[in-house]
Symmetry: D2
Subunit: 356 residues, 4 copies
């Protein structure tokens, strides 16, 4: 590989624009090709960012000597096949979340990763957002003391039905799950990172599921016990008509102070020593650029990404534990689901730091 | 009974001051006697509000022809005996919450109430607070649509230990329970009122209980399913060092809008039709005066108080369900606990309105 | 004139886009031609809004039977000639502010208006913004009592110099003045509308002017006495590096309450009867669409626009009074400047309502 | 003088309570006597703070060997006589603001100070408030760049009339002036400190004064030019019915950032480098304790207090310049008023720091 990381963007939909902009700003990397089954989408995105080549099928890029890495923004059901192909060809993969939607697929992908020298990273941006990084520093500095309670919210109007239907991209067949799988997984990942892993969950939803499998949940409330001994609750709803965009909020209570932050607005408020400080930024970051920079660094340095697939496996297990709890009406331990799938040893140590 | 309601204040501690001030402002009522085992406390409170008589024992007031009603601000363990005595004598009773801390005591008190012509009301002030009344009007007018999610917080520094101990009044022996029993019960009552009763709960606490009985819990997270089909979560902690006083907050999400309010600050924020309105008041009310006015009205009109003991029985069952869930690690239905105690038929219809 | 108002957009720069979007949304009107000396700018704007015809010179449209009205977004120095030509041809004119930058030009334009049957309106959008309209209703309803104090802010980073220069469009030759003439005139117009006209002003600027003429002022503080007996102050600066966009804020103090609002964010906060209400909107309006609707109504109904040129004359006189005060170091009355220019009788009654 | 500073509190009214509490918390000092013409007021305040001696006349304390310093909280008209007596006797004086209300009295007091070895300090607390100190640090560190604009507000309901009258303590005879003299002087002092002195002012009030002397002004708007070349405006009103207590707010705009703060709430918000930080404190200080500590330090170290009388002379001159401007309708320079009173050389260098 030369000095410049030559990247192909696989999938040219909604999230691919954010990624393309982040790649564009990344020194030492260049998007060389945009791929989408819909040639118009590929053409439009390629034109916007001055990318010369485009294709409708990723197959010809597998093992292509002009492509060092791929950024896969395809729907979840296409993740396993594409990722395994590129990894087998020794090409690095940045893979949009949720990386897979079932444990069996996860096992196969982890196996592919183990047999490859290439780097696989899940494109989970919240740990890299500016609000998160600021709060992580507070936590790491001990300013909040020991964290013992977490509150998380993921509220939007994405699942408000129009003519009795949610948007096509959010339907079960495309997304592999409902709000918890596609949106709440962000909160679960970050909660796990902040609180030392998710030990057990109990969940209620407004709709009763017909099976223990992921369904098109729209509103969920979760209680959780964390690896650090703390406890917490999460609120997910795609039917909130509040003013402003999505509310992607966290509240942390520690023995010495409290913190609240929002991934979207970038606002951070914390109380330490009887003083409350609130910070707003003119240009908050949701973490896409930092995530891509981290991917590039991991490739160069041979480090394990903060959001490696085997780390995201724990988030997937927690998501599936929520769905199981909704069906069974009981507390579920993500570790038990992993053990049943013979994946217990695959999980990376939870709660690893950004530099971990 | 003459035109003026002649009242005795039984117990002259912390909350009694708020009650004394509310009685003082209530036309048609007059505090005639202050009772406390500690003569200094009785003297001090009596002096402050210009009450002539005081006593160290409530016994002499039972059946006293000069006292029409009593306001009992004693510790919970003294509630049953005192309340039953006054009810038996035909004197109206306003009784500080938690009205009792166990179902057996509840059964005996309800029996005493049934055999008395006098009015018994639990002094639960949150339904009467100015913020609550404003949000109730929004809900009743349908501005928020159908409520499907509730978020409740009760956060303070009351349980922060000094020299390894919490304040005496908060100890288990005095209070009959920990944070959920003494503070969280307010949230539980109001959540039940807003969401049509509490169907089931699941709870985590930072400390693991040694028995299914109430213990000195300090931090609890609860998931709940409500009678209206909605779901919710509650966060209780007595160890939050945030700036400002207690945080007694609620968030409601409905199919047409959202609302947030705080009982202490009186602030209310709601979003309807793409417009967010926030209201702050110079003199918000936590509901003590309105609660006492309601007690007086119920006496005059022979109505059942909004916070009648048999209505508060459901809150008690929910509190005990939380403690049971903490011990058993499973979802618990308050109705099941009531059924086990042969109290299933005693509960009043949940979710009754202020005018109910 | 047929049923559809056929409009030509003269000038295709920055503000013309806002106007084009507003025309596009206006039923009963249609932009038929876009004119700009720069053919690329004309082509680009025409393409964006699906307008077929474009031109580089407005001359051919004067008296053109296919154009009923023109929306002039040219630089101020081109306003007089173009407006007089269209008015003389009986075509209605919506004219970007500042309508002229000197009193002599104002006199000539008002004369042209008097001899024309067509409607002339200045495109001053702040009176039509959603925040303004809400506060106007409060004021008209008497909720604030008599207004006696006004505070206005117009703060942005537009005049922050890069390489020692402000943006070309803001230079003196193009704009006819500095921050007060191009930006502060909005505040002056609205303050006048709310407080019954501007009786006298005194101003300080950070730079000392070399003549009594408008100069490239960047930071100005103004004290004002208003027609309703109230007083006020205004703060204009193009060098504020605050977070968030421009701050276009007003504060009003009345004998019964207070109000604060911001034209850009649309937020409104008011206090009446010890209660403070704050309102945020998902889609606040800065008034462009309402302004254009008002223009159309005035044409159809033959009414005088709220922002008629002879009403804006008072704002111009107040702006010039500010510049005179900066040079002379004394209080200046706008009415005196008008009298000196023999324009005293031309000013419309100040403080007229939206329906006036 | 021994190790403990023995203090007499002269005047036991409203502000004396704040002072008594601050003395109580000051190590190395002790209030030995409380004096008030009204024996009940003296007795009550003495009892509250455990002071043994009290008196109705300060005369017997002049030169008393058991009193090292006096804290004079008398009405302004009694300041000159009492201060001169104590200074002549070699006793230190902390004197409530406004220290005098006329320049002739100021000249006499400064002469008395010059002939005394004792320390005279004006009890102007705003420079010592926690919000001020935090913003001063930002300014001193250069975080805001060069300050070029200041906005000040002093808004309360103190002057709202009941039965046609303002409170007795605020009447002209007692206070020596209206809102500007008694309340606005705080803003003027702090604005001067932050902006390098007040060069000239122009003012409007809602009432037109009958003479150039201080009158009972209720609402004033002031424009000011400052010693550092910056400009600013101030809004004073005692008739604002906003929610919350007094609004004692400042806004600063500098070439690198902005800051806003409020003396009463202690809140501070500043923007630097595209990031806005807001700080709220659980226990903000209005500066009484720090002011008294500074007085004690100045006595011990022989330093000139930050709020020495000859520094406050400039504030007095600015206040009188405001009243003159209101009467004359023209810009007035405080320095000109001082020169007319032969006090030009008495003013200390403006803009001195807390450690100056």
């Amino acid at each position: 590989m030369g000095e410049t990381l030559r990247v192909a963007l696989i999938g040219a939909g909604f999230v691919a624009r954010d990624h393309a902009a982040a790649w564009h700003a990344q020194p030492g990397a260049e998007v060389r090709c945009v791929v989408d089954a819909d040639p118009d989408r590929a053409r439009s995105l390629a034109a916007e960012f001055g990318v010369e080549h485009r294709d409708t099928d990723f197959g010809s890029l597998v093992g292509h000597p002009g492509i060092d890495a791929v950024d896969i923004c395809l729907p979840p059901r296409l993740h396993l096949e594409s990722t395994c192909a590129f990894l087998a060809a020794g090409q690095h993969v940045l893979l949009e979340k949720p990386f897979v939607t079932g444990l069996e697929d996860a096992a196969r992908m982890l196996e592919a990763e183990q047999h490859s020298a290439a780097t696989l990273m899940v494109a989970e941006n919240w740990p890299f957002a500016s609000a998160t990084r600021r709060v992580r520093r507070l936590v790491d500095d001990g300013a909040l003391g020991e964290l013992f309670m977490l509150r998380a919210q993921n509220e939007s109007a994405l699942y408000v039905e129009h003519d009795g239907e949610v948007a096509a991209a959010l339907r079960l067949s495309a997304a592999g799950g409902g709000f918890t799988m596609t949106a709440g997984v962000h909160n679960i990942t970050l909660a796990s990172l902040l609180m030392g892993g998710i030990e057990s969950v109990f969940a209620y939803s407004t709709e009763r599921p017909a099976s223990p499998e992921p369904f098109l949940d729209r509103d969920v409330v979760i209680s959780a016990r964390f690896g650090n001994g703390g406890i917490g609750g999460m609120f997910f709803t795609g039917r909130s008509l509040h003013v402003g965009g999505r509310r992607l909020a966290f509240g942390l209570t520690g023995t010495r102070g409290t913190a609240e932050f929002d991934i979207l607005s970038g606002s951070v408020t914390y109380t330490v020593d009887g003083e409350r400080t609130s910070i707003e930024q003119d240009q908050p970051s949701m973490g896409f650029a930092e995530e891509i920079a981290h991917f590039c660094e991991c490739i160069v340095d041979g480090r394990t990404p903060l959001t490696a697939a085997r780390r995201q496996l724990e988030s997937l297990a927690a998501v599936l534990a929520v769905y199981r709890s909704l069906y069974d009406g009981r507390e579920v331990r993500p570790a038990d689901l992993l053990a049943q799938a013979d994946l217990a040893t695959a999980v990376a140590g939870a709660g690893g730091g950004v530099d971990g």
